[in-house]
Amino acid sequence: MTDRQIMTGDEIRRAIVRISHEIVEKQAGTQGLALVGIQRRGVPLARRVADAIEEHEGVQLPVGALDITFYRDDLSLVAQQPIVKGTDLPFDLNGATVVLVDDVLYTGRTIRCAMDALIDFGRPRAIRLAVLIDRGHRELPIRADHVGKNVPTSREEIVMVHVEEIDGSDEVTIGRQLRADEPSAAGNE
């Protein structure tokens, strides 16, 4: 693999701080806000955004985790079922402004699944989307409200977000995909 680093740990931290300000600015405060990370790497990112908001606003926002495995439309296409990692939404979604947080926005299909899943839990007042990386190639009419970094890519490339909580370090790399069905491509859409 000839992975190239496109974001350092510091750059990730600054992007998250900026996104946290943008989220509060767009909402004109923190009233009614909730953050929901998409499993797996969206979850630690959502916690970090919440921590950043707490730092500059002094308000602790509810943070949830969403597993979209059962909402995917490609069960028969994946070589094996993705391991289910659990959904945990410890607050009432009804009337809340939910900010979905994910690591990479690619085709948009994960986000569509996430919206389907969220709506099964209640009726949020609004759903917004924050992603660390937007790599283009959308297949659905979906866009992010808050983007850490826009990265033009080709479909053959693979963007990997590493987070301390799961991978032991913070960085974003880009490399060539070896095989279309390579396991590391999971969560990259």
Partner: protein, 358 residues
């Protein structure tokens, strides 16, 4: 409980000792639990946890199997298993076709193989099947192009019941660990596919398994236990066989009563139901011998007053309705895992098909 694997059970049973988080499901059919490795059983348990989460939601439905076609084909009477499978399939948004043989061409003499080919031509992808002949689902798996899920075949196997029993036991035991826990199964072991499937899963879990019943209803079990104990056949663990109910129930963590299958009681296997109830019926006095926190299970349907006293069946130690509720979640997990496994269609697995089907 990845660490809680019985060493004796593990040796032969664990085909790969990979960390349980990385288990890949490759079974195309589920005909019995004997072909499952312990990590695969744990994968089913974890997936069931997630399905329980779905059942706790305001909307108990996810689109995971949207548009997939599940057909239930029951050659034997059933309410809970059939409704449980159909509810499970609907909760995953599958389309369900339900065939009861009393109103089908089976009554015109259509063979099992023809019926299955017809169902496949009609679009069935996952076939849930119950049959009075042991091994019938193995025959079905040979001719059917999709997935076969055994909903009970003769005296042989009832894998989803064994898995929901295991799930229910784990919910009630500290850390979900059955290792060394005493599980007594009391009743008509001879005719019980529930007991046979439970032998595989409970010994794999490391439980201290006791099978108890009148000698006439334990035939063959001694030989099975001895064959495993002496290593005469590849063993997966140990279990005890006894007609002494007090010994079986004493200090038990789990006591499971099996239904006395009146329809199979020709030929003088039992002197009378009343004598059975007196000698082997699960009543409050016998349950007093078990551990104070022991749970009472029954796969249903119950003959109250025969194998289980009414006060025990509805007592606060009974988890019989939990078993039913867990059954839906376990079946959702299995439908989900099987539906995603079509890439493994080359994998041969018929386990230990009983001769009756051949």
């Amino acid at each position: 409980m990845s660490g809680g694997i019985d060493a004796s059970a593990a040796a032969a049973h664990l085909k790969g000792a990979a960390p349980s988080q990385d288990v890949v499901w490759h079974h195309r059919h589920l005909l019995d639990v004997d072909v499952l490795t312990w990590p695969e059983i744990e994968l089913i348990m974890r997936t069931t946890d997630e399905m329980k989460g779905i059942l706790a939601r305001p909307i108990r439905k996810v689109p995971a199997l949207n548009g997939r076609r599940v057909t239930t084909l029951f050659y034997e009477a059933s309410t809970r298993t059939r409704v449980s499978f159909e509810t499970a399939a609907r909760n995953l948004s599958a389309d369900v076709v339900s065939i009861s043989t009393a109103t089908s061409s089976v009554t015109k003499g259509e063979s099992l193989v023809d019926t299955i080919r017809t169902l496949e031509a009609l679009g069935a992808e996952i076939l849930v099947m119950r049959h009075a002949v042991s091994g019938a689902p193995y025959l079905a798996a040979e001719v059917f192009g999709g997935h076969v899920l055994n909903g009970g075949d003769g005296w042989h196997a009832h894998p989803t019941q064994a898995l929901l029993d295991l799930y229910t036991m784990r919910q009630h035991l500290p850390h979900g660990d059955l290792h060394g826990r005493k599980v007594a199964i009391v009743g008509d072991i001879l005719h019980s596919r529930v007991a046979r499937s439970n032998i595989w899963s409970l010994t794999a879990a490391g439980a201290d398994l006791w099978l108890c019943g009148p000698a006439t209803l334990l035939r063959g079990m001694d030989r099975w236990a001895t064959a495993w104990a002496t290593g005469a056949v590849p063993g997966h663990g140990r279990f005890h066989v006894t007609s002494d109910i007090d010994a079986a129930v004493s200090d038990a963590d789990v006591v499971m009563a099996l239904r006395i299958q009146r329809e199979r009681m020709q030929g003088g296997l039992l002197p009378s139901l009343r004598e059975y109830a007196a000698r082997f019926g699960l009543n409050a006095a016998r349950m007093a011998l078990a551990k104070p926190e022991a749970i009472v299970m029954h796969p249903g349907p119950m003959n109250e007053g025969v194998e289980i006293a009414p006060d025990v069946a509805i007592g606060d130690r009974a988890v019989i309705t939990e078993q039913v509720a867990n059954g839906v979640a376990v079946r959702m997990a299995l439908l989900y895992l099987l539906a995603g496994s079509h890439d493994a269609s080359h994998i041969h697995e018929t386990g230990h098909a009983p001769e009756a089907a051949r």
